[in-house]
Symmetry: none
Subunit: 119 residues, 2 copies
DNA sequence: GTGAGCAACATAGTTAACCTAGTTGGCTCG
DNA sequence: CGAGCCAACTAGGTTAACTATGTTGCTCAC
């Protein structure tokens, strides 16, 4: 897969593509590699690549055109800070998750139930 | 499915949920119906509901918690100042601070099972 | 040479199945 | 009574298959 950073594969791929876009490796107007190519490149299934592209599409970073490809958006004007906002939100969500986890660990260090055996 | 407005089902569902959130039918902090319930409610497959929720998650409108549910995030509405960015940055800073603190607590008391019975 | 048609490839959407993992509450057994 | 186990929920991730639809380039007949 990609790496086991705790992040799901489709988010890792989305992150990587996002970084390439912001970094300039993928200039506005240029098409991303095709779904199949990306799947091979990241050694992932088509499904996770589609999910990753879907995330970027939702974020408005890219625009998919049926039959042609997925193109990096011009990013002329960030609509209400759309993409940076999305990034910040993702960060917030991640932080919240981690925080809730450690806080729970701290709070329940004595409670200790939930014995879930094997499985 | 939902309706054939040209929009794909998962976007229609996402739109509807988004409208309910913004409209107040789904107040911040309240959980969305479970995936299964939503699927039944919209007469859609589990997959499209999961996609719809995924969109809202990407947008940061909701936060999913495994085992519990998907909860409406606090106050998506931008304050009158309009500087939602600054607010988010502040939130990120705050979360980072708290997280660092708690992580430090955890690290410095690894063998410690300090009593703190919550729940 | 030109146009029609077709094949190949692209994204997009939908569905279904399986697995992981966290939460909760109830039941059993010591 | 209480601790532990477990079953039934929950969301999340992954994969695969199928369909629809749009684009492009090639071929072939005329």
């Amino acid at each position: 897969m990609v790496r086991h950073t705790g992040q799901p594969a489709y988010l890792q791929i989305a992150d990587d593509l996002r970084a390439q876009i912001r970094g300039g490796s993928l200039a506005p107007g240029t098409p991303l590699p095709s779904t199949a190519k990306l799947a091979e490149q990241y050694d992932a299934s088509l499904s996770v690549v589609k999910l990753a592209v879907g995330v970027l599409r939702t974020e408005g970073l890219v625009i998919g055109q049926q039959g042609k490809g997925v193109f990096v958006r011009d990013a002329e004007e960030p609509p209400a800070g759309g993409d940076e906002l999305a990034e910040l939100r993702a960060t917030v969500e991640d932080l919240s998750r981690r925080l809730a986890k450690v806080e729970e660990q701290l709070a329940t260090s004595t409670t200790r139930r939930s014995g879930r055996s094997s499985r």
